[in-house]
Each structure stands twice: as C-alpha cells, then as structure tokens.
C-alpha cells in the first residue's frame, strides 16, 4: 500500500479562495492606485520640473474671424479677416495651421501665399509662432446674391486651428531649483521648527486633555451620555465653521474674548491673538488641542471602561490612595492605547492643513510644512516648489510610518 501523504502547497480550493479575494479587492486597489499612488508619483515628477501655475494652461493659437467692409449689394468688395495670436507671452507654438470653410456667395479674389483654397475649403499653414505673436490675415472677396440669400456669415462656420506647443510637464526640462528654493535660507528652518512645535504640543496636549476628560466621564451618573455627546462636538463640527467661530471670538476689534479680558482688567488693550508672533502659533496649537481632544477622549474612555474594576477594589482594600491607584493601576493599563494614539495623532497633526490655513493662512509665524505646500504652489504660483515641499513631507512621513508599523504590530486594538 502506498504511503498516504498530506497534500502540500495550495490546493485548488485555496487557489479559488485567493482568486476571489483578489477579485473583491481589485476595485479598491485600482481606485487607490489611481488617486493615491499615481499622484504620489506625479509629485516626485513635478518636483523636478520648472513649472509655475500659469504653465498649467498650455499655450494655444487663438483665432477670431469676421467680415470687414460691410457689403450691402451684390458686387461689393469685402474682406474676411482672421485675427490670430499666441495665447502665451513666453512660450512658442510650432506648426500652426488652420482650416475654414468660406461661406457660399463670397468669391475669394486672392489668398495669402501660405494658404491653399480648394473649392470653398481654405487651409493655411502658418509655421512657427514666437511667444506673444500676433498677425492679421485678410482675404479679399466679392459678394454674390447667394450670400444675402443664405445669410451665413464667415464667423458662423467655426475655423479649426491647431498648433503644437511643448508642455513643460511632459518635456525633458529638469531642474533642482525647486529643492534649492525650498531648502534655502532661514525660512525652511523656521517652517520645520513651527511644524515640530505644532505637532509635538498639539499631540501631547490633545492626549493630556483627552485623558482628563475621560477620567471625568469614567463613572456612571445621570447625564453622562449627554456630556459625552457634547464633548465630541468640536470634532464632529465642520472645521470651517469652528475655525471661523474662533476667529470671531478672538477678533482684536470686536471679539468677545478681548472685550471680556479688557473688562476684567486682565489686559489693558485688545490682543491680536491670531496676528502676532508667537501668540498665533500658540493659538493654532490650542485650537488643534481643542478640536482633537474628543478623539483621544473617546479612545481612552473606551479602554478605561474595559479595565476590570476588581483590581481597583483590591487596591482599595490594601490602602492605595486614589492618586496611587491612578498612577500604578490605570496608567500602565492605558499606556498601550496612549502610545498608539500618540503615534497616530502625531502623524495626523503633522499632516494637518485646513486648521492653520483657515485660522491664520500661515501668517504670523504659523507656516507649517503642509501650509508651505499651498503657499509655494498657489500664493507664489510655483507649482514645482510646492511639489518639492510635498516630497519633503512625504520623506518625513515614510520615516514615521516605518516607526509606526514597528509599533502597531505590537499593539492590539487598533
């Protein structure tokens, strides 16, 4: 009798399961590749291109057509006029040509040397255009009765014009100027310092405040559910609504907080909370803490409620005081969730853009790396430099992620 051996490798059932799994995942993978991976690759490409905001619109030849001379009776002379120009002031267009149909009833007398007339089809080869090139092409015609009968003007049949222009995004011009620009000067170090301050203090602040809130609500009493819902408000509300509410609350001229401070004698005159260094940076960090403490509060509370209460009773019997119980029992139990939250929040705070953009627009010493992407790309109109900042961000993130993956594999629950 032959030895019975267990099957090795993946059997047909296993293969079918794997095929189904990939089939189910395919739409997600495709979508993510299209909207996440492709743009990420594009960022690297753009960061080494000398591309400005204006370059996104490729230069194109522009043509306007009308009939001059105002013919009134049969036999009048007139001109079909083509006004042509290069839409770009700084880039050439090569091999421009256009074609048009001359309306019935207009007899063409002569054509420009670059044009060919076949029947009523006019086509012209205009060659290469300099940046900002303009010219006018007139074609003399004589009017016949058919023109008045048909009532079709030359501009009614649109002329088609084509030309080739090199797109700066796809040509082979490469430059390292973008990176040189980003790294040059003290500005970059200020941006990095601001980002670090905002990220570190925003993260730690949100964790500590969230921990405090969780300790408050970690007992059951009437109205606990309402308070829990209430404390989540800052996180749930649209960022734009709460950011503007803060701006109005802290307005230097008519803000309630300033009125309150002056009235209570804390400050002799109104304080420009979001307009002064270094107060603005502290304020956006406080906003970040305010907006995201609910998230840490929620996670910490969930973890607290799963801690066994027997342990605390035993500690109580042994005479541990409340602070000792907190320090020696609760904190060690919470360390896992706290460290995971710290890593997650650290990365997300590092990535945060909207909050600072809405509160200060990156002014008054609050420009973080993410705000710098927007500043460079749209305010300074240098897309390439913006992309270079984005590459720097991506590099930092990759470092964090490696760290994060090392940790997350050890921590359960997330």
């Amino acid at each position: 009798m032959a030895d019975a051996t267990p099957p090795s490798g993946t059997g047909p059932l296993g293969k079918r399961e794997a095929r189904l799994a990939w089939g189910l995942l395919l739409p997600t993978i495709a979508a993510v590749a299209l909207v996440v991976v492709l743009p990420l690759l594009a960022i690297f490409w753009i960061s080494v291109k000398p591309v400005a905001l204006a370059d996104l619109r490729a230069p194109e030849p522009v043509l306007r057509e009308d009939l001059r001379g105002g013919p009134e009776v049969v036999g009048d002379e007139a001109q079909i006029r083509y006004r042509l120009r290069n839409s770009s002031q700084d880039r050439p267009i090569s091999a421009v040509s256009f074609s048009d149909v001359v309306p019935e009833g207009l007899v063409v007398q002569s054509v420009d040397a670059r044009c060919v007339l076949e029947g009523r089809d006019l086509s012209c080869d205009l060659g290469d255009w300099e940046p900002g090139h303009r010219e006018t092409l007139s074609i003399p015609v004589v009017v016949e009765q058919a023109y008045f009968d048909n009532d079709v003007a030359p501009q009614d049949s649109a002329a088609s014009i084509t030309g080739q222009s090199s797109n700066v995004l796809t040509n082979s011009d490469f430059t390292l100027d973008n990176f040189a620009r980003v790294f040059s000067g003290d500005e970059f170090f200020e941006v990095v310092w601001v980002t670090l301050f905002y990220t570190v203090f925003g993260t730690i602040g949100a964790l500590v405040v969230g921990l405090f809130a969780a300790l408050l609500l970690n007992k059951s009493f009437r109205g606990q559910g309402i308070l829990r819902g209430l404390y989540l408000f800052p996180y749930v509300a649209p960022v734009i609504a709460v950011a503007f509410a803060w701006l109005i609350l802290f307005d230097p001229f008519s803000g309630s907080v300033n009125a309150l401070l002056v009235q209570m004698g804390v400050s002799p005159q109104a304080i420009n909370f979001f307009g002064e260094r270094p107060l603005a940076l502290i304020m956006v960090t406080v906003f970040e803490i305010w907006r995201y403490f609910p998230l840490s509060f929620l996670f910490i509370l969930a973890r607290m409620q799963s801690i066994d209460s027997d342990m605390f009773e035993a500690a109580d019997m042994d005479g541990a005081s409340p602070f000792q119980q907190f320090w020696y029992l609760s904190v060690p139990q919470l360390l896992g969730i706290l460290s995971v939250l710290f890593l997650l929040r650290f990365i997300w705070t590092f990535n945060k853009f909207d909050d600072i953009f809405l509160l200060t627009g990156g002014n008054a010493g609050t420009r973080t790396l993410t705000v710098n992407v927007y500043e460079q790309a749209f305010a300074v109109s240098n897309i390439g430099a913006g992309a270079a900042v984005a590459v720097v961000i991506f590099g930092c993130l990759l470092t964090f992620s490696i760290f994060f993956l090392k940790y997350i594999s050890q921590e359960e629950g997330l």
Binding site: E17, A18, L20, A21, L24, L25, A31, V32, V35, V36, L40, A42, I43, I46, A213, L215, L216, L227, R228, G229, Y231, L232, F233, P234, Y235, V236, P238, I240, A241, V242, A245, I248, L249, S256, N258, L260, Q263, G265, Y292, L298, A302, S321, P322, L344, W348, F350, N351, D354, T370, V373, A377, I383, G386, A390, I393, L397, L405, I408, S409, L414
Partner: protein, 404 residues
C-alpha cells in the same frame, strides 16, 4: 505635605480655589448672558473662599452653615467687597441675579467637595478624595465652557446685526421682540447667496460618497477579514499607511490633473476623489467588525450550497447592519465636513458645497453674521444626525481606527 493635610489648611485652601473657579465662571457666564460688566476679584475670592472653607470645616456640613455661606456671599457682593464685582452701570437686577447664582452655586457645592475633611490631620485617602472632587468640579465647568462657548457665540452672532456686534461684543442677549427679523441673515443666505443649492449639493455629494465607499469597502473588507491569500497581512497594514498620506500632497497633483482634463468644477470629479479618501477608513473599520462575526454561521451557509458572494449578501451584511450604519455615518461626516478639496477644485458658485460656500462668505464686504449663519447651517445637520445616532458613532469610531 503633612502641613497641607491638616483639615484647617485643606478646607480653606480648597474653598479659596473653588470660589475663584466659580466667580470666574459666573462672571463670564453673566457677561455673555447680559452684556453687562461683571468682574471676578481674585484676591477677594481667595479670601472669602478661605473663610467659607474654614467655616465648613469648623462647624460641619449642615444646612445652617450652607445658608450662612449663601447669605454672606450675597451680602458681600451687594456691598461691593465680594468675590465678584459689577460695573457702575450694571443693572441692579442683573447684579442681584449674579450674586444669587454665585452664592447658591458656592454654598451648595462647597459642602460635598469638603466631605470627610474634618478639623485635625487628614488621612491620605480623604485628602486626595477631596482634591479629586475639586478637580472633577473644575473639569466639568472647564470642558463644558470650552465646548459650548464657541458654538454659543456662533449661534448668537448669526442672530445679530453688524452695528449691535461692534457696539458691545459681549452682549449676546436676544431681543425677542424682533420676531422673524432675528433670522434675517439666514433668510438672506438662502435668497441671495444660494445656500439652498449648496445644502443640496453637499447632501447629494455626501450621500453618493457613502454609497460608493460602501460598494468598494464591503468586498475589500470581507476579503481581508475572511479569505486566506498571500499578502493578506501586508495588505491590511498598507491600508493603514494610506491614511497616513496627507491630503495636501495629493491635492496638488489632483488639482493639476483636473485642471488639464476639465474635471474641476464638476460633481463627477469631486465624487471620484471623495470616496478614495474614505475607502481606507471604511475598509479598516469594517474588517475589524467582520473579524468579530462568528465564521460558523458563514460556513453553515457555504455547506448549504450558497456561493461566497451569496454568503456575503445574505448572511454577513444583515449581521453587520450596526457597523454599516456607523461607517456610513462616519463617511457622511467626512464628506460633509471636507474643505480642502472642495476649496481647491470648485470655483463655480453653482457647484459649491456648503463648506466651499462658507469659505466664499469670508470677505470683508459680507457682514460676519452671514458667515456665522452659514456655519450654523453647515453644523446643525451633522450635529443633529450625530446626536441622534451617537451610540453608533461612538462604537464605530472606537471599533476601528479613525482618520482625524
């Protein structure tokens, strides 16, 4: 430390600090409610609080002592040497109400805080418990204040007009005699600024995003949670990595691509992008839930001749309705609140979402009560939805990890 743990030290110290907390709270609340001048006096608060604390420790926590504290508080505030001062032009009634509120709050809350604090030396337990009760009281006031004040200011500002706002930024009292006139800025938002369209756009885009996200995430989450294939672990980790990528980094190339293909200012473009930002979150939350479902039920279905897809449709999905609800709610919230992409990709006012519409209101020509009214319009639906389904939301948020 031992000195602090004497009843005669702990009682007055906590009393003094507690009165400072309460007098600041009541002054701020009264200022916001009436617009008149209320000012806490820190030094006098400390003094009177210490006196009251000593009194409670010395005479016990009886009704008589509480009434005495109340009477003394109102009296000293009325005389003008109390923990809270009123301005010269503050109305007598408002001043009296403020004094009564502060006195009552202090008298009723001081005794419970100083429970077990007796004269003589205190055990570590009693001492720390008293401090924790003080911190708890402070915590409730602090958190409620920081959460409520911005929303209170938002709603009240939207009901005012420009001149009232400049005249006294603290006066949030509402003149009910104006009737429907109060809601003028809302009326103007909907009639002159097209907020009806924005509301509709936001709603359509958010709902579409929810459906597309679910259509992608459910099969994906099921595959990651249940099916065995090579690369499963790597895949579930790389999902996490995707939501580490900052939106602004993606927004730049997306802006370029959309500018070149003419997808800017179109719903299709927005609806193509939004789900991709939410699919990883939804997938992660759902796979956590699917893993928690008993696989025996599904295996029974397989044995009875259902195909995998039929199992998902007929067994897994009905069992995971609560998770689907919380994921939908969460995705809806992300799409509804999304600002950056809407801001960059939409320029045409007829295509604005609510958040983009509010951003357009932020100009010096448009009075700020309109800005705040717009903020209220954007906030109220999501708040109502959230409060109604809070249970789902909290569970969903903590079940899987969450993007912030």
């Amino acid at each position: 430390m031992n000195l602090l743990r004497q009843g005669y030290v702990t009682g007055p110290a906590l009393g003094a600090l507690w009165l400072v907390v309460l007098s600041v709270t009541v002054s701020v609340a009264m200022s916001f409610a009436t617009g008149e001048a209320f000012r806490p006096s820190i030094v006098l608060s400390l003094a009177w609080g210490a006196v009251a604390g000593a009194g409670v420790v010395a005479f016990g926590r009886t009704r008589v002592v509480q009434l005495a504290v109340l009477a003394v508080m109102i009296a000293v505030i009325a005389v003008g040497i109390g923990p809270m001062e009123t301005g010269a032009d503050t109305g007598a009634l408002a001043g009296l109400i403020g004094a009564a509120v502060l006195g009552a709050a202090f008298a009723t809350s001081l005794a419970p805080i100083l429970k077990d604090v007796v004269s003589g030396s205190l055990g570590r337990h009693e001492f720390e418990a008293a401090i924790i009760r003080f911190l708890t009281g402070f915590g409730y006031i602090f958190f409620t204040a920081i959460v409520l004040i911005p929303f209170y200011v938002m709603v009240m500002t939207s009901l005012k007009n420009q001149s009232e706002l400049i005249q006294n930024p603290l006066d949030f009292s509402i003149d009910f005699s104006k009737g429907a006139e109060l809601f003028r800025s809302y009326d103007e938002l909907f009639s002159d600024f097209n907020f009806g369209t924005y509301l509709f756009n936001s709603f359509v885009i958010s709902v579409t995003t929810v459906f597309i996200t679910l259509a992608f995430a459910i099969p994906g989450a099921y595959a990651v949670a249940r099916l065995r294939f090579r690369g499963q672990a790597a895949f579930s980790r790389s999902i996490l990595l995707i939501y580490m990528v900052p939106m602004i980094v993606l927004a730049l190339p997306i802006y370029i691509a959309f500018s070149m293909t003419g997808l800017r200012n179109s719903f299709i473009g927005i609806v193509m992008i939004y789900p991709v930002t939410t699919i990883p979150v939804a997938l992660y939350m759902l796979q956590g839930y699917f893993r928690g479902l008993p696989s025996e039920v599904e295996e029974a279905g397989l044995m009875d001749g259902l195909s995998r897809l039929a199992v998902i449709w007929k067994i897994t999905l009905p069992l995971s309705l609560p998770a689907l609800a919380s994921v939908s709610l969460y995705v809806f919230m992300i799409a509804w609140n999304e600002f950056l992409l809407a801001f960059m990709l939409l320029d045409d006012p007829s295509r604005f979402t609510l958040t983009r519409g509010i951003a357009a209101l932020n100009s010096s020509e448009i009075p700020r009560q309109h800005l705040m009214a717009g903020s209220v319009v954007a906030t109220v639906p999501i708040m109502a939805l959230f409060l109604g389904l809070e249970r789902f939301m909290t569970k969903g948020l903590t079940a899987g990890s969450v993007k912030g």
